[in-house]
Amino acid sequence: MFGLGRPQPTSAEKIAAIENELKVVAEMHSRMIKVCTSKCIDKAYREGELNKGEGVCLDRCSAKFFEAHQTISEQLQKEGAARGFGSM
C-alpha cells in the first residue's frame, strides 16, 4: 500500500504480515460463530445439548458463510479495483 519500491521486507514487516493473515482467519472464525449462533440456536435454551436440527443448521450455516465470505472478497476485489480501492 505504501511500501512500493522498498527493496525487501524488514523483520517487523514479515512478522506483521504473518500475524495479519492469522488475524483475518481468526476474525472470520469469530464472526462465523456469532452469525451462525444467531441464525441456528434457539434463544430459549430449554436444553443444553445441540439438538439435531441445530447441529445440521450450524453445518450448513458455516458452509454458506464461507461461500459468502469468498464471493464477497472476489466481488470487492473486482469492484474495488474498478473504483481504485485497495485490494484484499
Partner: protein, 88 residues
C-alpha cells in the same frame, strides 16, 4: 505533522499503515456480517441459493456505494467543522 523529526515521521507512518489495514478489515468484516445476516435465511441446503447469492451481490454493491457516499459527506462535514473550530 508539525514538529516531528524524520524518524518520528517514519514511525507515525508505520502506525498509520497498521491502522489502515485494521480499519479495512473491520469494514470488510462488517460488510460480510451485514450482507449475510440480511440475505441468508434458508438452511435447508449448504450452498447459497441463487436468490441468496443475488441478494449478497446487490448488498455488496450497495454497501460500497453507501461507504463512498458517506465518505464524501464525512470529508465535507469534517472540513466544515475544522474551519468552524479554527474561527473560534
Amino acid at each position: 505533522m508539525d514538529g516531528l523529526t524524520a524518524a518520528e515521521n517514519r514511525e507515525l507512518e508505520t502506525r498509520l499503515q497498521k491502522r489502515q489495514v485494521k480499519e479495512f478489515m473491520a469494514v470488510f468484516g462488517n460488510l460480510v456480517d451485514n450482507c449475510f445476516q440480511s440475505c441468508v435465511d434458508d438452511f435447508t441446503s449448504k450452498a447459497l441459493s441463487g436468490r441468496e447469492s443475488g441478494c449478497i451481490s446487490r448488498c455488496v454493491t450497495k454497501s460500497m456505494a453507501t461507504q463512498s457516499r458517506l465518505g464524501e459527506r464525512f470529508a465535507e462535514l469534517n472540513a466544515a467543522m475544522s474551519a468552524e473550530m479554527a474561527k473560534r
